[in-house]
Symmetry: C2
Subunit: 134 residues, 2 copies
């Protein structure tokens, strides 16, 4: 079971399991931010923000550098690519389900089209039947 012993993935998925951490990552897509700038929109203390950022750093999703007393954070997206690669192996399972759904909807469309073709050309048919096929 070596392929599942991927500590990167453990840390990445754990980091992503918190909505505040996902929101921090999203803010970093706009560019580098200080810890203080990241804390503000969440009404978080610097200590609280720092705790979340440490989890993101530990997962390799954020890089922090210090200038004087200011800590700057940057998004590191490569590990997200690893997570997506893992998910990709399951793609066929949900696409199959979506294909099935699409086929069901198409079949319903075809049935509707058939019933509306029949209706005008056979006005003699009972009104009851025509209503029930709609």
């Amino acid at each position: 079971m070596v392929e599942f012993q991927t500590p990167h993935l453990d840390a990445v998925f754990h980091a992503l399991s918190d909505p505040t951490r996902r929101a921090i990552l999203h803010r970093l897509t706009e560019g580098e931010r200080t810890v203080s700038e990241l804390a503000t929109p969440f009404n978080m203390s610097l200590a609280g923000a720092s705790k979340h950022i440490k989890v993101l750093e530990g997962a390799g999703l954020v890089r922090r550098h210090v200038q004087g007393r200011t800590h700057y954070c940057q998004l590191e997206a490569a590990r997200l690519a690893e997570a997506q690669e893992w998910l990709r192996t399951y793609e066929r399972f949900w696409t199959t389900r979506l294909d099935d759904l699409e086929e069901i909807l198409r079949e319903e469309d075809r049935a509707l089209a058939r019933s509306s073709e029949q209706s005008p050309s056979s006005p003699a048919k009972s009104d009851k039947t025509s209503r029930s096929t709609k």
Copy 2:
């Protein structure tokens, strides 16, 4: 920050943060399995396996149905699609980095090609210059 308040994603990413749970999902790609069949390769107790399966069920990644005393588990992949959709919004950040890397490698190839074109056709050039362009 409504878009990040997605309890599904919290539960899905949390479920995926454990290597045993990822391995269980992988086994379920082969088809329906009983809890006992899922426990065996990990030398886990039924209670241990059941605990992991409950987390997967809670995240909507596994569906369990009971026949008599046997519990059968099935993969439910749709929620993985939601996780991949979330990750997709970050794709441009890692593809940009990969594009940059590709461009650097191409530039190195071009530089190598130029230096190897120069070397045989200009033997008169100083050996020092030719070496420094390699």
